[in-house]
């Protein structure tokens, strides 16, 4: 045990502050060390002296002043006004330097303004939605104008009938050349019970001696059902079919367009060319009979091939046109109407809107908090740094 270590143990030796082992070590050392013996004596004297000192007494009125202050504190509590309580609620237990507080206030302002900006944006969006719903019919007219094809009809079915009639009239006027017309119709219909459309349409089309060539079903983003059909029907029943589809039974017609494509010229052209080619073919055949030379025969046969190929192409086109002319095509899209909230639509919708808005804002707040966390960290670091400097100065 070094001398220095003993020196540390000595002060505790005097009032039983050492373990038995330590005591033994000290005692052993003391036997041989006059210096430590002297020190030990000093410690003992000091300790004894201090322990025998009288203690000071509190002056008069000590406890009275305590009781008074305590009593005042109680009365203060009773009289604490509501305002004080509110103030107390807002007081921060932490002392924050002014600069940090100012910075926090600025950030808060920015936050509020961005939020309100976002809010007004979504408000505009709502107005837009409302407008959209009101102007469905306007939209329908817009759509029907946008089709580039020749003639189109308005939603007013009475007018439609008239124009259909005029088209028929047109046919009867041009009797000199038989008109080749391809009739097409496109309808968009809104129907609530969209599921019965399938069967209804099937029946209708069969009655009109047509057939459904294509169909599609899908759901749009608002979970509304859409049914799309492509119908081929004999041209004679075209008008009838379109009229029937426009009736109430099938729902509310949103848009309807009827187009007639006049392919008479092309058709005539095709016929003429085919006729000419066939005639040409005949001549070549008769030439073939006369021909003797192999070379001549080959040339003729080449030509015959060419003609035949071309005839076939043209014939194919003519057949296609025949099909289109004799069977008109009607495409019709059925869809479910936009859901209308029953009861008092305004308020319910408003409440729903409010709730979804609120949820959206919560999301935005969470995102916002995420974005400002770095700034908060920065503020915290600055604050700690500031406080550290402050303490150093003292």
């Amino acid at each position: 045990m070094t001398h220095d270590k003993i020196k540390e143990l000595l002060p505790l030796y005097i009032d039983k502050g050492l373990s038995p082992e330590e005591e033994d070590l000290v005692q052993e050392h003391l036997n041989n060390c006059p210096e430590c013996q002297k020190e030990l004596k000093e410690y003992q004297e000091n300790h004894l002296f201090l322990s025998r000192l009288k203690e000071f007494t509190v002056p008069e009125g000590f406890k009275e002043s305590i009781l008074k202050k305590v009593g005042e504190g109680m009365k203060e509590k009773e009289h604490k006004s509501l305002w004080d309580k509110i103030k107390g609620f807002f007081v921060l237990p932490v002392r924050v330097p002014a600069g940090v507080l100012g910075l926090a206030a600025v950030i808060l302002l920015v936050f509020i303004t961005t939020l309100s900006g976002l809010f007004s944006n979504t408000n505009n969006l709502n107005n837009y939605n409302l407008l959209r719903e009101k102007s469905l019919t306007d939209q329908a007219q817009y759509f029907s104008y946008s089709t580039p094809e020749a003639s189109y009809n308005t939603l007013d079915s009475s007018l439609g009938r008239a124009s259909l009639l005029s088209m028929e009239k047109g046919e009867s006027l041009n009797t000199t050349v038989e008109q080749k017309l391809i009739k097409r119709a496109n309808l968009v219909i809104e129907k609530s019970n969209i599921d019965e459309v399938d069967q209804l349409l099937l029946n209708l089309v069969e009655r009109q001696q047509g057939y459904i060539s294509n169909s599609r079903n899908w759901l749009n983003s608002n979970k509304q059902k859409h049914f799309w059909f492509e119908i081929r029907v004999p041209v004679a029943n075209f008008n009838l079919l379109v009229e029937e589809l426009s009736s109430k039974e099938y729902g509310q017609v949103i848009s309807r367009s009827i187009t007639t494509q006049d392919v008479t010229e092309e058709y005539m052209d095709l016929e003429t060319r085919v006729k000419n080619l066939l005639a040409q073919e005949e001549r070549y055949r008769s030439l073939l009979d006369i021909a003797n030379e192999v070379e001549e025969i080959l040339k003729i046969e080449n030509e015959l091939n060419r003609i035949r190929t071309e005839v076939e192409i043209l014939q194919g086109r003519k057949n296609y046109l025949d099909n289109q002319i004799s069977f008109s095509t009607i495409t019709v899209e059925f869809r479910q109407p936009e859901p209308i909230s029953s009861g008092s639509p305004g308020i319910v919708r408003a409440i729903r809107n409010a709730i979804s808005q609120m949820i959206e804002q919560f999301y935005k707040i969470i995102v916002f908090i995420g974005t400002i966390i770095p700034y908060l960290l920065l503020i915290l670091i600055l604050y700690l740094f500031y406080r550290g400097r402050r303490q150093k100065k003292e």
């Binding site: 000091n46 009288k54 203690e55 007494t57 504190g73």
Partner: protein, 186 residues
């Protein structure tokens, strides 16, 4: 029959103001002297002692009796002293003794009362100690508390208490001994 501390506290919690007075009387000098030895002047010690009791009163309903009442009381007192010492670091306080103390008649004739000069000499030396050592020294020498009690009050280990006390005594040994041997006993 004197009531125990916990019985007194129970009374106080029931609204018995006299019980609180009794409590103050029981501990006032202890608190006052402890504060005096740590802070070094009587005015501050008095304020602090009052503040200690006010704190006690306010928080009495929170006192769960996990530790003894005196431990809790000393803890509050030493904490307040520590805060005060920290505050002083920023604004140095001139220790002036313009306070005359009256020593009450003590029953114990062995107790020594010092002259003002002697006392302030001793206190000066004590003030030279580092705060942690000063607190431990005060509690041990002037309040006679055991190592364990001091450890409980300060919330440190007994080893810490011992090392602090040892250093305090070492630091004061020579000067203190000189004063007491020169000054003589009354």
């Amino acid at each position: 029959m004197a009531l125990s501390d916990s019985e007194l506290i129970h009374q106080i919690n029931n609204g018995n103001e006299k019980a609180f007075t009794e409590l103050i009387e029981r501990y006032q000098n202890k608190v006052y002297n402890t504060a005096y030895r740590i802070l070094g002047n009587h005015e501050d010690a008095l304020d602090l002692a009052q503040e200690s009791f006010i704190r006690i009163y306010k928080n009495l309903n929170k006192f769960q009796g996990k530790s003894s009442f005196s431990t809790w009381l000393f803890r509050i007192t030493t904490n307040l002293c520590r805060d005060e010492l920290r505050k002083r670091k920023r604004k140095p306080v001139i220790q002036e003794e313009n306070f005359s103390n009256i020593y009450q008649e003590e029953e114990n004739p062995e107790k020594i009362s010092l002259s003002r000069e002697l006392n302030s000499l001793i206190q000066e030396k004590i003030d030279s100690l580092v705060p942690e050592q000063k607190v431990v020294f005060t509690l041990r020498e002037f309040q006679g508390l055991s190592y364990q009690e001091i450890a409980d009050i300060l919330g440190v280990s007994m080893g810490t208490v011992k090392s602090r006390l040892s250093r305090a005594r070492q630091a004061l040994r020579e000067d203190l001994f000189e004063i007491i041997s020169k000054g003589g006993l009354e």
